[in-house]
């Protein structure tokens, strides 16, 4: 953000803006930049998901739009969704129905503020960064319940309630699994956590105290899958049971916002996992051996994309869990395991 402020300083007449407003401008600009980047990444991820799913099922996926392997398919779909009629059901709670997609969207995008994409490319370095990510990320569940309630539709309400139960259950193991990283670092700031992993792949937290933090990573990954409602845990929008869950009644751009938020959430949990466990923007080998020739944000995005690919891979290889199996996994497997891990990591950190 400092570099953005310096760049903005070069604009003519910038220094004549009053100080109170001038402080806001770099924040707004960097937010817009992050929003644009994430929107592009989401468009790419939707295309990638369609290609990955197609090839896993021995199909080809989109092949025509745009020429090369249907790269413009998502753009065409976005234009189509923009042109579609925006239907609000007659018996819906109009205000909540209209607000819900934006709340979900806000929860997905606001958390990107604290993600360190590179050594200096982040909007804010909060000392409670991780807490902020979890707090803002949980906003989306409010949006989902809003959507389910406001639609005035049994399936939507079921989807919303399931989403609430699921996300709240899985917040606990994922938050506790993250403690396996927070305890050795002693900070909730994502920038400090990434800085603590510099100096090659052996310093990444995924390889710290093997296999303790690695198991923490696995638990976080499973729980984060459930938090973003991806397929082994997609009971809130289970097509075979609930039509489309909480976004059954949505059409056009409001539906697109839910779609966008789902993929933005995927990127969010992958970004958090990258920053916490996979070394963030740091290079694979020590700087003294091979200097980092790939820019930090590109490296970060590559790691995030690898994790997003694993999410897609899992989605197209696993069937959906039943509701009781979902709760069993969260409360009886992941929660005790993550608690045991935190005890183990704490013991190792203090007595090793």
């Amino acid at each position: 953000m400092q570099s953005i402020a310096e760049l903005l300083g070069l604009l003519p007449g910038y220094s004549s803006i009053p100080e109170t407003y001038r402080a806001l401008i770099p924040v707004v600009v960097s937010c817009v930049v992050i929003f644009a980047c994430m929107a592009l990444a989401v468009l790419f991820a939707v295309w990638l998901e369609r290609k990955v799913s197609a090839h896993i099922q021995d199909r080809l996926g989109p092949m025509y739009v745009g020429g090369w392997h249907g790269w413009a398919q998502t753009l065409a779909d976005a234009v189509k969704l923009l042109l579609k009629e925006d239907i609000v059901p007659a018996s819906a709670d109009k205000l909540l129905f209209k607000v819900a997609p934006f709340v979900v969207f806000l929860g997905a995008f606001a958390a990107f503020v604290v993600i360190p994409f590179g050594a200096s490319s982040f909007v804010a370095d909060l000392n409670i960064g991780l807490l902020y990510v979890f707090a803002v990320g949980s906003l989306s569940v409010i949006g989902i319940i809003m959507a389910g309630w406001a639609s005035n539709n049994k399936y939507s309400l079921y989807g919303g309630m399931r989403a609430a139960a699921q996300i709240i259950s899985y917040e606990i193991p994922s938050a506790i699994a993250i403690m396996t990283v927070v305890i050795p670092v002693g900070s909730l700031s994502l920038v400090e956590i990434v800085n603590a992993q510099q100096g090659g792949i052996q310093n990444w937290f995924i390889f710290r105290y093997p296999p303790l933090v690695f198991l923490g990573f696995i638990i976080y990954f499973i729980a984060s899958l459930a938090e973003v409602n991806r397929t082994p845990f997609d009971i809130p929008e289970a097509e075979s049971e609930l039509v489309a869950g909480y976004h059954t009644e949505y059409s056009g751009m409001r539906f697109a916002f839910f779609f966008l938020a789902e993929y933005a959430n995927m990127f969010l949990v992958a970004s958090v996992a990258t920053a916490l466990f996979l070394g963030g923007w740091t290079w694979f080998v020590p700087e003294s051996v091979v200097p980092q020739f790939i820019p930090g944000p590109v490296l970060f995005f590559g790691k995030v994309l690898a994790l997003v690919f694993v999410q897609m891979w899992l989605r197209w290889s696993l069937p959906r869990l039943r509701v009781d199996q979902l709760m069993y996994l969260s409360w009886k497997v992941l929660l005790p395991a993550s608690l045991a891990l935190v005890l183990g990591v704490g013991w190792v950190t203090v007595y090793w």
Partner: protein, 166 residues
């Protein structure tokens, strides 16, 4: 307690197995055929659109009688004695003038029963399968070329089809 850990282990193993299957299929050759640009070569003697070589047709009507869906309509009249004699390509004399030979491909069930009794082998099924139309009446293929000479021509086939086809 033992069951609990066995279930967890089983879960991990099955997840990894299914991921392995998915990974292998990620690099399997796709079975998709990009249809309008690539097409299957149809097998010889595939049963698609009917074609009648009207120059060889003697108007015997055996095909229409064989048809289970009555999709072939034939109307003929005798050729006059003073007219020149006409022969099919296999040498059979064509004694009837076929002035209506309509096949409604919307009714056809592709059984190919009509092609077997044809004495001059003029009615065949072709491998042509891309003949979708916007109007069902466009599926009526009219093969007859000659006009009736006697003024007592019967009702044309099209009106009859329109009345029961819609």
């Amino acid at each position: 307690m033992w069951n609990y850990f066995r279930d967890i282990g089983l879960g991990i193993v099955t997840v990894l197995t299914s991921m392995g299957v998915a990974w292998r299929h990620l690099f399997t050759r796709s079975v998709t055929l990009q249809y309008p640009t690539e097409k299957w070569t149809m097998p010889e003697r595939s049963r698609m659109r009917l074609f009648n070589k009207i120059e060889d047709c003697i108007g015997c009507g055996q095909c229409a009688r064989a048809c289970p869906t009555d999709c072939i309509t034939i109307q003929t009249e005798k050729r006059g004695k003073d007219e020149p004699e006409v022969f099919a390509s296999d040498g059979t004399q064509i004694k009837l003038r076929t002035y209506v030979f309509d096949i409604d491909m919307a009714l056809c069930c592709y059984c190919s029963l009509c092609t077997f009794p044809c004495p001059t082998h003029c009615l065949v099924m072709t491998p042509e399968y891309e003949y979708s139309v916007y109007d069902k009446l466009d599926h009526i293929y009219r093969f007859a070329k000659e006009k009736p000479l006697s003024g007592k021509a019967q009702k044309p086939h099209s009106e009859k089809t329109e009345s029961h086809g819609q």
